[in-house]
């Protein structure tokens, strides 16, 4: 345990000096092998075997389809459609951002795609109409997490594989929390802006005209709106496995982008595809070294020792659940969601088993917590990405972000922890 503690400090040190997450864990794994005297000779082979798993194929497929959706303008059409409903009320554009992120989440597995696709369009538009820039950026950052909570979701794929549970069930475990959170963020958005005087609201259209706008933008977006049906319908009706659904989504995007919308040019397609491959590499590299690190910990029996330690603090279920949440929160602060999923699975699974926690409920807790971790500093990739896309300094949006998190996401973490039905009800319908 002391060796692990030292290694943890070393890993955090390297994380802080901007060593890529994967390499920091690689360094940690070697050091840990050395200190604990366990085998490291198979580390490379082990990481390689783990990432070659067939079920991980969903990751490149969902990343590629998400990237191409952005490149083919599918997200713009979704935005216009949602905008035709609530765009012309005070704070309406904010709600449009949240809702579009949620819908985009149902077709994309990654939150960064949501920021790139929606943030780039919505934040300038909101600022132009007088929204405080910090509020606009924060809203995009916190809503992008909805893309992780609403299936498909890459961290959930990884987590399900790590705990050897059904990917389809793990997907559903964060769906209701995701939808609830979308509603809460819409509400908070209106509430935070209630005394705002800078926002210029476009005049309301007559009811007839609004209906006409909805019809027009709806028609333009119809192929995009069909997409969640194709992906989730494909999975839950048995046409495709979650892995294959990623491929179906990709082919559909290619079809729509190249032949119908004609927005995917050859160069556009090549560049976006290479970009997706690169992003895939970035995520898989983290997984590679995490699997390696986890093998080191398993060889030294860390997970069982850790479970014993937690259970020695208390055997009260509520206390243990709170401790688990605290740990996930800390984990989320220092690392990204994909790493967090694997680590949580490996370190915490024995504890959750001994208190009899349903693995799918555990999936829900992990998903909601790590979604939060993605936007909670210091390691907050989504938060910085939002600032990067919208060209705002951290100081303008860190405050509003914290308000959204404290009043929205954090309470959701506790709801999901203590109301198992939020994560278990939908998967239970699968039989």
């Amino acid at each position: 345990m002391i060796a692990l503690f030292i290694v943890l400090i070393v890993v955090v040190f390297f994380l802080l000096i901007e060593v890529p997450v994967g390499f920091a864990f690689g360094i940690g794994a070697l050091l840990y092998g050395y200190m604990s005297g366990t085998d490291i000779s198979f580390h490379a082979g082990f990481g390689y075997t783990q990432i070659s798993a067939f079920s991980l194929l969903a990751i490149p497929l969902f990343i590629l389809s998400g990237t191409l959706m952005g490149a083919s303008g599918i997200s713009d059409r979704l935005l216009n459609f949602v905008n035709s409903f609530v765009g012309r009320t005070k704070g309406g554009l904010g709600a449009v951002t949240v809702i579009t992120c949620a819908i985009f989440g149902a077709i994309s597995g990654s939150a960064s795609a949501a920021i790139a696709a929606i943030g780039k369009i919505m934040v300038p538009r909101m600022i132009r109409e007088g929204y405080p820039p910090g509020h606009a950026t924060a809203l995009v950052a916190v809503s992008s997490v909805l893309a992780l909570l609403i299936p498909p979701s890459i961290p959930m794929i990884v987590f399900a594989i790590a705990i050897r549970e059904s990917v389809a069930k793990a997907f559903l475990s964060t769906m209701i929390p995701g939808i609830l959170l979308a509603i809460i963020y819409c509400g908070l958005n209106f509430w935070f802006l209630r005394n705002n005087r800078t926002i210029v609201v476009q005049p309301k259209l007559p009811a007839q005209e609004t209906v006409r706008q909805i019809a027009i933008t709806g028609k333009q977006a119809s192929l995009a709106i069909l997409m969640p049906g194709i992906i989730l319908g494909g999975i839950y009706s048995g046409i495709a496995t979650p892995t294959e659904a990623g491929a179906v989504a990709l082919v559909y995007t290619l079809f729509v982008g190249i032949l119908i919308y004609r927005t995917l040019s050859w160069g556009n397609l090549f560049n976006s595809t290479v970009e997706a491959a690169r992003l895939t590499g970035a995520i898989i590299m983290v997984l590679f070294f995490l699997f390696v690190m986890s093998r080191g910990m398993v060889l030294a029996k860390v997970p069982t020792q850790f479970a014993d330690f937690l259970l020695s603090i208390s055997d009260n279920r509520i206390v243990i659940l709170l401790l688990i949440n605290l740990l996930l929160l800390l984990m989320g602060m220092i690392i990204d969601d994909v790493s967090g999923s694997v680590l949580a699975a490996i370190i915490l699974l024995p504890v959750t088993q001994s208190i009899g926690l349903d693995p799918i409920h555990f999936a829900g807790i992990v998903g909601v917590n790590l979604g939060l971790g993605n936007i909670s500093p210091p390691c907050a990739p989504l938060l910085y990405m939002a600032g990067g896309v919208t060209k705002q300094p951290l100081s303008t949006y860190i405050g509003p972000t914290m308000k959204f998190l404290m009043l929205g996401h954090l309470p959701m973490v506790f709801l999901v922890t203590f109301i198992p039905e939020l994560s278990l009800w939908l998967p239970s319908l699968l039989g």
Binding site: F54, S55, P242, L430
Partner: protein, 308 residues
């Protein structure tokens, strides 16, 4: 001396019972000087990965299945209709059998020492909820999507039986049964049925092959032990393995009862149905296997199986 023993099964599985017996006896024999670092439950990776770790010496011992990527001769272990009942199975695969020698040679070529053959059970296939249960082959199987392990021989067999064989990763099987992406899973011994109970209509217990598994050690490590240590190890392993036949047979009955208690029908073929099934399997598999292992071994198997 310290060695890692890892496998993928939980504490209900015969691997665990054999392991416990082995560790207890080894501890007695060595007076505690030979310690086993025990990793059940697959925390060291899936079974193919643990097998590779043993072959390469990163882990010392495991209990494993036929890893045909490493050596296709290994598929002998799932050849259909070699043993007709438990007694025959023990004669063909048990301690001192011809097959034990054949397997020991294969393992040696891969840098591993065979410590023993552990029987699991006869195998059948499962059928998902809401699907008619096929019992006449090939006619009933038409259009049924049956998940098979990705081995050519498995695909040959299930094609011959009239199914549409679908290779699919094990991790996707449960969801795929649930949603209907596949209609069943082949190569299922009773012990691997209850984990799918919630999505199953029936278990067809064809006994189409006798699933047996391999307890292997890294050869370099094994050879590097002192004579005394090697003596303790083999004695403890032999005792644990010879006890495993009776244990496996009694567990089989227990698992079948559990399958029925889980609301899944256990279906047995009538003698006529069984004979048709058997003929199809043998016709598809034996020539294929002979290509890989040669006529000499196949003649021994035919003699043992009475399929001359």
């Amino acid at each position: 001396q310290q060695a890692i023993l890892g496998h993928i099964m939980d504490s209900e599985h015969i691997f665990h019972h054999v392991s416990e017996r082995f560790m207890e006896r080894l501890d007695e024999l060595s007076g505690g000087s030979f310690a086993v670092d025990y990793h059940p439950g697959g925390d060291l990776g899936d079974w193919t990965s643990i097998t590779e770790q043993v072959a390469q010496g990163a882990v010392q011992m495991t209990m494993t299945y036929n890893h045909s990527e490493l050596d296709p001769r290994w598929d002998l272990s799932v050849l259909g209709y070699v043993a007709s009942d438990w007694d025959a199975a023990q004669k063909i695969y048990g301690p001192g059998s011809v097959m034990e020698g054949v397997y020991a040679g294969i393992m040696n070529d891969l840098g591993m020492e065979l410590l023993g053959i552990i029987p699991t059970d006869f195998a059948g296939f499962i059928v998902r909820k809401g699907k008619a249960v096929p019992v006449n082959f090939p006619e009933d199987a038409a259009g049924m999507k049956m998940r098979v392990p990705g081995m050519p021989m498995a695909i040959e067999r299930y094609n011959a039986l009239g199914f549409s064989p679908v290779p699919m990763a094990f991790s996707e099987v449960h969801t795929a049964l649930q949603t209907g992406a596949i209609d069943g899973r082949a190569y299922s011994p009773p012990v691997e049925v209850p984990m799918f109970s919630d999505v199953l209509e029936a278990y067809v217990f064809t006994r189409e092959h006798f699933e047996h598994t391999f307890w292997v050690a890294n050869k370099a490590w094994f050879d590097g032990l002192t004579d005394e240590q090697r003596g303790w190890l083999t004695e403890a392993a032999d005792e644990a393995v010879s006890g495993s036949w009776e244990l496996a047979q009694s567990q089989s009955a227990k698992w079948l009862a559990e399958i029925e208690a889980g609301g899944v029908d256990v279906v047995e073929l009538t003698p006529e149905q069984q004979e048709k099934h058997r003929a199809l399997v043998i016709e598809a598999e034996y020539p294929y296997m002979e290509n890989i292992v040669g006529a000499e071994i196949m003649d021994q198997i035919r003699a043992a199986a009475g399929t001359n």
